[in-house]
Amino acid sequence: EAGVAQSPRYKIIEKRQSVAFWCNPISGHATLYWYQQILGQGPKLLIQFQNNGVVDDSQLPKDRFSAERLKGVDSTLKIQPAKLEDSAVYLCASSLEAGGGETQYFGPGTRLLVL
């Protein structure tokens, strides 16, 4: 079974530029998550989708971050404009449903460096 795919794997940009990340979840998984992991910290949830609807985006900095999952499958996360503190690994995960105890399967992440 193919896992969660993410691209690009690495991205270096200058501050105030824009960047977008792409995620393809495991086939059939209704729930998709985007996490931000700053160096030395655990992953922090940014946004959670159930199919193409947003379940939770309370920790998404909406002035600069946006995410969409238009057809309920692939998802993109965008940062516009980027700040130095956005340097982190952005992890995408998916699960079959959003029920209690469901396992979240992670992708390898996109490492972003903002200069």
């Binding site: 896992g3 910290q41 655990g42 396992t103 399967y105």
Partner: protein, 108 residues
């Protein structure tokens, strides 16, 4: 603010049993999840649940506000970062709150 706490580093010798402890302040927590992470790779679930459980060399203990991951017969290849996560049933979608990760160092 709900938080999950785990030691930043744990050291073990090959062949030993190592315990990584986790506790939290999430009031409506139910399940614990333990993930293994090699930097640059996808975090991988080792064991999860709301009761003590075992998957191969990985044992998980369970208390209301704490859990331990025990790794049996530690190997050099187990050197990685281990994340504890707690599921908050009060949140829509049962979101996970992660600890800061514990780096396991293995001495030959």
């Amino acid at each position: 603010k709900d938080q999950v706490f785990q030691p930043s580093t744990v050291a073990s010798s090959e062949g030993a049993v190592v315990e990584i402890f986790c506790n939290h302040s999430v009031s409506n927590a139910y399940n614990f999840f333990w993930y293994l992470h090699f930097p640059g790779c996808a975090p991988r679930l080792l064991v999860k649940g709301s009761k003590p459980s075992q998957q191969g060399r990985y044992n998980m203990t369970y208390e209301r506000f704490s859990s331990s991951l025990l790794i049996l017969q530690v190997r050099e290849a187990d050197a990685a970062v281990y994340y504890c996560a707690v599921e908050d049933l009060a949140c829509a979608g049962n979101m996970l709150t992660f600890g800061g990760g514990t780096r396991l160092m293995v001495k030959p």
